[in-house]
Amino acid sequence: MQATTREPLDAFLATQVLDAFKGVKKIPPEEYYSSGHRTCQGCESALAMRLMVKAAGPRTIVLGSTGCMYVANTTYYTTPWVVPWMHTQLGSSGSAATGTVAGLRALMRKGKMNKEPINVIAFCGDGGGADMGLSAISAALQHRDYNLLILLYDNESYANTDIQVSGSSPYGANSTFSPPGKARRIMHRRWKKNTAAMLAAGHPDCRYVATVCPSYALDMLNKVRRALSIGGPTFIHALDPCPKGWDYDPMYSHELGELAVETGIWPLFEIEQGKPALYGRSKQIAQGTFKRKPVGEYLRRQGRFAHFNDEDVAYFQSKTDAMWQQWLIPGVLPFQAA
């Protein structure tokens, strides 16, 4: 047996250089996810898809795990995607990204494919990411020399199967698996997982983790570009208001995303190479330059909380307050200072 020669692994660490767009007027017109999907009116997850690939550009492969952004998005024998896209199984976003990068790396290294940095993005919903796919995402974030981005679009339920509660659903939300009833008003008693911070804390080779919301479009675009440029495995968690599952008029999708941030329920943060930082409104909240709005302003706009009484709202407020007042880093580190 003869030893075959191979180049060092680091030769394949190059990424595309994707600088931040400096203002909304600099956002390019090109679309890589366009019309042709059959999502709900006002679907913010569809907007997240559009922004995700607009940021990434044409030399990108997208893997989509099962969920709304699979079933509602891509109806056989048509597609809304301009860039190459492939379905992956519900819990497989991490594996899909890993496999795609592995294939490209091997083929490029062996001279079977032209060498170039290709963005690889795998997306998952909260069911596919925060629940079922967590172990595969965790494994993907350990491959330090694989350039990949996992984007979790979180509409806070298994929305595609008609709104069932997930580990990322907010406390008390109505869903078809957690309906308020006469005997039990609150069926879903679990507090939402902090998926992004959990993944950042546990994966030292993951150089970039961020939370975003498509209501802040420019910000989301630039976070995606940062994640793809920095190299190695990265993770972005997007909160997407869901007019169907949250039960509100679709025209308020944008506003509810803003309210999620302004009430402090959805903190915007990024953790780059181990350094956590709040940004935007969330930074202003932490600095005291923006006063958090009461959570009721957000909750009372949504039919999924229509059964909440004042006590429930107060409980929600107290948990949110605790995050901002007692956590070591609000939104990120739930431990209290020693």
Binding site: T4, Y76, Q89, S92, T100, A106, L107
Partner: protein, 418 residues
């Protein structure tokens, strides 16, 4: 040691010999290591591993080859079998040649990925180190693990020797990656007997393999920015019949592609034989035994002993279970009075409570004008030894039952304590 019978021309025998191409070496290796060599020779691009006995021996050899610089591929130790098979599925979609494997419940943990790999028409080649399904935990061989994917669009082979394992793996890449087929392939190796014992294997050289095995080209189906496509969107009832029909036609075409591949392999390496079945002493057989995998070894010994007693018995070893060798079995078994099928698997509650192979053979023989009786035997579950004596005893029943239609419907459990 080769018996004179075993090398008789035209018997479809795949002996451990054949010609040695230039650069080939002779190694004392297990079936697992033989397949690891096949991966190296095929220049596989991405391999994923996850530990479970007994298949994982193949990954130990792969890992050693990579560590020693003998083989270059992306080798990923996944965090579960599900991810293991999902990773290679996606690597295959971008045009990489891929390999994975599993055993028993590990194979079942990957089941979702196994189903979609076939649906996506991705030519993964996998090794199944056949193992009993938990619970209770058991390491020994049963065929129910690999057989579970039999109707999903997987090509399925069972091999008898380490040499056949290596040869079949190379042939599997050629057939699975043929654009007329594009289906995944699992090569089943009986746990313990193939995965953990070593025999002499001719390992061909890389240049000869390259000449036999063309590069994997996915063409218009390759996921790449230069070829923007969407793969596998959600489909409704308007389309799925047509998609299933495409897979059906691909599986039908696979038989012809297998024939071509075996013919070319035989010409280049002097091994191969009939792709679909190995017919052993079948020319004048009155009764015949049928089985798969390493079971063939005690059966062949028993056949020779019975022949020495003047009893005209033959044996058919099924090499490819998918596509099922219906025509080859009809031709081989159409003339005998009774067929005894030995299953190293079970089909609880199936027709006649038979094993999976027995009922497939029954179905294949049903259209024959003069169809032989089919008696079903379940033996060797969980890796229990099937001895020559067991086989001689069960063969006896075939003459006894030949005149008795009722007993044809029996399923006999061999060497089980009641």
């Amino acid at each position: 040691m080769k018996s004179p019978d075993a090398t008789a021309p035209g018997k479809g025998q795949a002996p451990p010999g054949g010609t040695m191409s230039a650069g080939a070496t002779e190694e004392l290796i297990s079936g697992s290591e033989a397949i690891a060599h096949a991966c190296r020779l095929a220049d596989v691009d991405v391999i994923t591993a996850y530990p479970i006995r007994p298949y994982d021996t193949v990954m130990q050899y792969v890992a050693q080859m990579i560590a020693n610089g003998a083989f270059d591929c992306e080798f990923i130790v996944a965090e579960s079998e599900h991810s293991q098979f999902e990773i290679v599925k996606h690597a295959s979609a971008v045009g990489a040649r891929v390999f994975a494997g599993s055993s028993g419940v590990g194979w079942f943990y990957a089941f979702e990925a196994l189903a979609v790999t076939a649906g996506l028409r991705l030519p993964l080649v996998a090794m199944v180190g056949n193992r009993a399904l938990d619970d209770p935990g058991a390491f020994g061989v049963e065929h129910n693990d690999a057989l579970a994917v039999r109707d999903l669009g997987w090509l399925l082979a069972w091999v008898e020797t380490a040499q056949e394992a290596l040869d079949t793996a190379l042939i599997a890449y050629r057939v699975a990656e043929d654009a007329r087929v594009f289906l995944p392939c699992a090569i089943s190796c009986d746990g313990a007997f193939l995965t953990h014992s070593q025999s002499i294997v001719k390992v061909p050289d890389a240049a000869a393999v390259r000449a036999f095995l063309p590069p994997y080209r996915r063409g218009e189906k390759q996921l790449h920015p230069d070829n923007p496509i969407t793969i596998a969107p959600q489909v409704n009832e308007d389309w799925l019949m047509e998609i299933r029909r495409q897979s059906d036609l691909a599986m039908r075409r696979a038989s012809q592609v297998l024939l071509e591949a075996y013919a070319d392999f035989g010409a280049r390496f002097g091994r191969g034989g009939d792709p679909f079945i190995e017919a052993y002493h079948m020319d004048d057989a009155e009764v015949a035994l049928v089985g798969m995998g390493t079971l063939a070894m005690p059966v062949k010994v028993a056949v020779r002993k019975l022949r020495q007693q003047g009893r005209k018995v033959g044996f058919v070893r099924v090499r490819w279970f998918r596509p099922f060798p219906t025509e080859a079995l009809q031709a081989a078994l159409g003339g005998v009075r009774t067929v005894g099928v030995i299953d190293r698997d079970y089909g609880f509650g199936s027709a006649f409570h038979s094993g999976v192979l027995a009922n497939e053979v029954r179905a294949a023989l049903y259209p024959l004008q003069r169809r032989p009786g089919v008696v079903s035997f379940v033996a060797g579950l969980g890796g229990r030894e099937v001895t020559t004596d067991h086989v001689m005893a069960l063969a006896d029943r075939l003459w006894d039952t030949a005149a008795d239609k009722a007993s044809e419907q029996e399923t006999h459990w061999i060497d089980v304590r009641e």
